[in-house]
Amino acid sequence: MPLMLLEHDAKAVLAQCGVSVPKACLISSYEEVARAPIPLPAVVKAQVPVGGRGKAGGIVRATAPSAAMLATRELLGKTIKGHIVREIRIEELAAGSECYLSLTLDPRTGLVRVLASDHGGIDVEEHARSGILARTAEFSQAGVEDAIRAIGAKTGGSFEPALQSLAGPVSRAFFTFEAILLEINPLFVRPDGTAVAGDAKLVIDENAVVRNPQLAALLRERAAAYPEASLKLEHGFDFVVLDPCGEIALVTTGAGLSMQLVDEIAARGFSAYNFCDIRTGQFRGDPARLITVLSRIASGSRVRSVLMNFFAGVTHLGELSRLLLTALERAPQLSMPITVRLIGNGLDEALEVLRAAPTRLAVEQDLERAVSLALEPLARSKA
């Protein structure tokens, strides 16, 4: 799966591969700012994994330490495009002409698209459509490096030496860290042909972490900044808090159907606390994963209803039901109503097991009815 690194980590990767990045410090609390060596003039940047942070108010310039501290206080805890700001990167303002460089794996062809422009910045899409230089490279470090050099040869001025010197480091970063996308925008190019990465977007392949020591080290060191990826790495399933104020929690299997359930709940005017793909097929008789998910749900302060959906293609529902009861016993007590939708192999046995359960569960076979049932307690209080 693709994982977008925070700017701070993307720049650390680039620096490690030989790309110049501005001097910076990473701040996670207001108290830290006072002690931090703030480079001036500074850019105070919210660390959230989305594009367009500048336009969304996530990037503030500061010429004095007091201004940087003020900006930090305002940005920490703010929500930008749905992501809570937990870290701030304060970096030295870079100067030079704003250029653009990106490498993208085209999933359809399996080739890498290299784009470069001497008109970068936040409006690159609008400004550079005509002036953008593109080249397609085979999926190899040497191929991508050659493509960047070839584009460089077509440009002039200081952009050409900048691209020539970036070709090696940038392609090395892309392949060493098994990237899907790498974008440097703006890339500040100085008159002498040196360049510094003003911003960096790096999307890596989470599937490669298990065999790539560099990626594994990066995620281990920064586990707190990537809670979902760390959970996936450690426990092998997906759990994402979507809305901390969400009132309905989901225990579901299958990425597509789970995503669709979040949509269906939204279409009925409610907000799901979480997304979850628990992967029942991998339980192998162990309730641990269910217990982990139930514990996480228990920490959702506003959750007032739980919807479980198990469309069992292969998993035996009888066995699954017994695991569920064990998990409910061992996990923190959930006081809210639980609706369980079951369908597939071993349904009759599952119904028997759940009927005899000490915990009261509403069991449904039809998903539409299960969703309605699960939303009932919420709808009542809304009305």
């Binding site: 594009g51 159907l257 789970s258 995503m259 949509d263 939204a266």
Partner: protein
């Protein structure tokens, strides 16, 4: 890019199938289930050796041996994600023409290499991360659930396994089964994309309509729309797209389902598909109702 497999049908109902990873937990279980469904499972392949057969299915040490001895021309790989590329390499060099890889979590770099390999060999690859393909009532390669399978007139193609199970199950309850079901998988880099399947469904006289189970992210739905326009899509297409509430930068389980600055958004997919003549739905039941209103089972 459409890949010609040399056959005008996407899947031959009596194709001889070998199972890679046949002595593993999943391979053993699904070999038996597939055979019980009617699939001609003729061979298992396992590196470990030691076992001559699993439940009467002969086990060979290599794909080449299995192909030579049994005439298998399709394969389903039940191997871990990091072993998928190797399994594909072996199947391709043994002359297998259709490969299904079910494992989730294949590294993208491996998928790119596998894609190059199958394309140059003219082999069809379904996957990674797919529940498989089926002609209901005849054969299935993978583990599409029986409660959702029923012979019928709908051609199904889906990025998501579970969501397509739910959609097809509801349609089956209303009397609508499938002529062909292709799970293309939820990864970004994959062997077979929606647009590759479309020409087969349009040519297939057993298919009256097409149900597409799509997802936010990537450009497959947009590519499908372009292919529909290019081919002059003569059959009704009903599409469901999951992930309308997904926010930028959050991955929800599937590799393709990550939106970056406008590409692969819900709006882009809906507009592309609708302008190509498809009907696009955001709720499962709306799609099911539309299909059952327009077509008698």
């Amino acid at each position: 890019m459409a890949i010609e497999t040399g056959s005008s049908r996407f899947l031959e109902p009596d194709v001889r199938v070998l199972i890679q990873g046949a002595t593993g937990r999943m391979g053993r279980q699904h070999a038996a289930l597939m055979r019980a469904y009617g699939t001609r499972v003729v061979a298992g392949v396992a590196r470990t050796g030691g076992e001559k057969d699993i439940d009467g299915i002969p086990v060979f040490g290599s794909c080449a041996d299995a192909v030579a001895r049994t005439g298998a021309s399709a394969g389903v790989a039940f191997v871990p994600p990091l072993a998928v590329l190797g399994a594909i390499e072996e199947a391709v060099s043994a002359g297998i023409g259709l490969i299904v890889t079910v494992a989730e979590g294949m590294p993208v770099a491996d998928a790119v290499r596998a894609l190059g390999l199958v394309r140059s060999a003219g082999v069809r690859w379904i996957g990674p991360s797919t529940p498989g393909i089926a002609i209901p009532g005849r054969t299935k390669l993978g583990f599409l659930p029986d409660v959702s399978l029923r012979p019928g007139r709908i051609g199904v193609m889906a990025k998501s396994g579970t969501l397509s199970y739910e959609v097809c199950h509801r349609l089956v309850l209303r009397g609508h089964g499938q002529s062909l079901w292709v799970g293309v998988g939820g990864d970004a880099v994959k062997g077979t994309r929606f647009a590759d399947v479309l020409p087969f469904l349009l040519r297939d006289s057993a298919t009256d309509m097409i149900v597409v189970v799509g997802e936010i992210g990537g450009t497959e739905e947009e590519e499908l729309a372009a292919e529909m326009s290019a081919l002059g899509c003569s059959k009704p297409v009903y599409a469901l797209i999951a992930g309308q509430t997904a926010k930028e930068g959050v991955t929800m389980g599937h590799a393709g389902a990550l939106v970056f600055s406008g590409a692969g958004t819900m709006r882009s997919k809906q507009e592309a598909l609708e302008s190509a003549g498809a009907r696009v739905f955001r709720r499962i039941q709306d799609l099911v109702d539309a299909v059952t209103t327009a077509h008698r089972p």
